[in-house]
């Protein structure tokens, strides 16, 4: 249930502290979701209110790492939207793997808690292409890298994830990709052993370049329009001509200013293809 509710003035105050004291710029995050994330961080750390959060940030210099980790929402699901992953497996990945001199670059540009990355790796493994591509993954914190490398994700609902995998018509059993350590699921870390992590500050600033597929699902929903345009611009320049961009199924380039740089590859799954010029 919703407990403490943060007001707009207090929200701006936290944003100012993050910018002035730490150089992290959250000014162009979508306000409603960002407020909710702040409420979540305040509640989960036993803080009383926004002032409590500001105090904790200023008096405990290590807390910023924890904050950055908690402020971005967990992905929560493996193979979210199975039909998206089917199209990726059956149409997009075969396309980018074809006739490439170098290892094609796939960029999980989302700030993912690991589920998108592992879902992708499982699909590549089932296509026998895991070692034939170079995967880059965006992260905010070392904590996130460690969590992903340890295989100890926290995909919340086993039943949903298993059902998603079945709807995907995968080649194996979902359960063959993890072991249990007590009550904790530990995914097969071999899946991500060749992943290159790209550490970003509060949004997409660095890019690997020459990317053939960028996955950025359910991310621009957390940005306002200014930041949406800026980040999509970054992704656009990083993609090769004919490269693919995947957004969330309820995100659309039509609400950004990059629409004319892409053609629609699959409208239902919101997969776009970078135009040649």
């Amino acid at each position: 249930m919703i407990r403490y509710e943060i007001g707009i003035v207090d929200t701006r105050n936290v944003i100012k502290t993050l910018l002035d004291d730490f150089g992290y710029d959250f000014r162009d995050y979508a306000l409603t979701a960002f407020k909710r994330r702040l409420e979540y961080v305040i509640n989960s750390n036993g803080l009383r209110d926004a002032d409590g959060l500001v105090n904790r940030l200023q008096n405990n210099k290590d807390f910023i790492g924890q904050f950055l980790h908690e402020i971005s929402p967990d992905t929560t699901e493996m193979f979210r939207d199975p039909s998206f992953w089917r199209v990726l497996r059956d149409e997009v990945i075969p396309d980018i793997a074809r006739g490439s001199a170098n290892k094609p670059r796939i960029w999980v540009a989302s700030f993912d808690s690991g589920e998108e990355l592992y879902s992708l790796a499982i699909i590549l493994k089932e296509l026998n292409l895991l070692d034939s591509v170079q995967i880059y993954a965006n992260v905010f914190t070392d904590k996130c890298i460690n969590r992903i490398k340890s295989g100890r994700l926290d995909p919340k609902d086993l039943e949903t994830n298993e059902a998603n995998y079945q709807r995907l018509n995968g080649k194996a059993q979902y359960s063959s990709y993890y072991t249990m350590d007590g009550n904790t699921m530990v995914f097969d870390t071999d899946l991500v052993k060749n992943v290159t992590f790209v550490k970003q500050k509060t949004t997409v600033e660095d890019d690997p370049g020459a990317v053939k597929l960028a996955i950025f699902r359910n991310q621009i929903i957390y940005y306002n329009q200014l930041l949406q345009d800026k980040v999509i611009q970054k992704l656009t320049t990083s993609l090769v001509a004919g490269g693919f961009l995947a957004l969330g199924i309820k995100e659309t380039l039509e609400n950004t200013n990059a629409n004319n740089k892409f053609t629609v590859f699959n409208d239902n799954e919101k997969i776009y293809k970078r135009k040649t010029t």
């Binding site: 409603t32 929402p73 039909s83």
Partner: protein, 186 residues
């Protein structure tokens, strides 16, 4: 004087919603925001089913879509639907609230913060307590709170939870809700 109507429903609300939408004329002066519990993995079919008899277009919005009068906006499966300042839809994949995504509480609370006293909130039949807090928030910020008469509901849990938490303005059966909406002038 009102700027939007928001309706929350769950088990037993589909027929009520269908009747309400059927009764509206194409020049209904307000947007209608619909947050209905639905199967998370079934993406298509729901809008189509609701559209068959609806008097106004039903849209399953994309993130940042502009909210316009005379249309109904249905919260998409597996996303929360927020109302943002600037009269826009914002979507979110944050954790379920009250075991629900979309959560009625979240849609109601964010709509209340944007429209304040210019919002009409309606809670229909449903099997959990999602929406009760949201309706209270609408009332607290000066909006109008309506609850479907529990006696008419297929499942009373949601309406009874709402009535327990908030001193609502009206307890209406479906016909009264329809009459009320039809009398709204721009």
């Amino acid at each position: 004087m009102y700027k939007a109507v928001i309706i929350g429903g769950s088990a037993g609300s589909f027929q009520v919603i269908t009747r309400i939408l059927h009764s509206l004329s194409p020049n209904f002066p307000l947007p209608i925001l619909l947050c209905l519990h639905r199967l998370k993995h079934v993406r298509s079919g729901f809008v189509e089913a609701l559209s068959i008899k609806s008097g106004i277009p039903i849209i399953e919005p994309f993130d940042k879509d502009q909210i316009k009068p005379g249309r109904a906006y249905l919260a998409p499966a597996n996303y929360h639907m927020y109302i943002e300042l600037g009269n826009k839809i914002a979507l979110s994949t944050e954790d379920p609230v009250n075991h629900s995504r979309p959560s009625i509480d979240l849609s109601f609370v964010t709509a209340a913060q944007v429209y304040r006293e210019k919002l009409i909130g309606i809670i229909l039949s449903g099997a959990n307590r999602d929406g009760a807090y949201g309706l209270k928030k609408i009332k607290d910020l000066g909006g109008l709170a309506i609850v479907q008469d529990p006696e008419e509901c297929q499942v009373k849990t949601m309406t009874e939870a709402s009535l327990k938490m908030t001193k609502v303005d009206f307890v209406y059966n479906t016909n009264d809700i329809i009459k009320f909406l039809q009398n709204i002038k721009s």
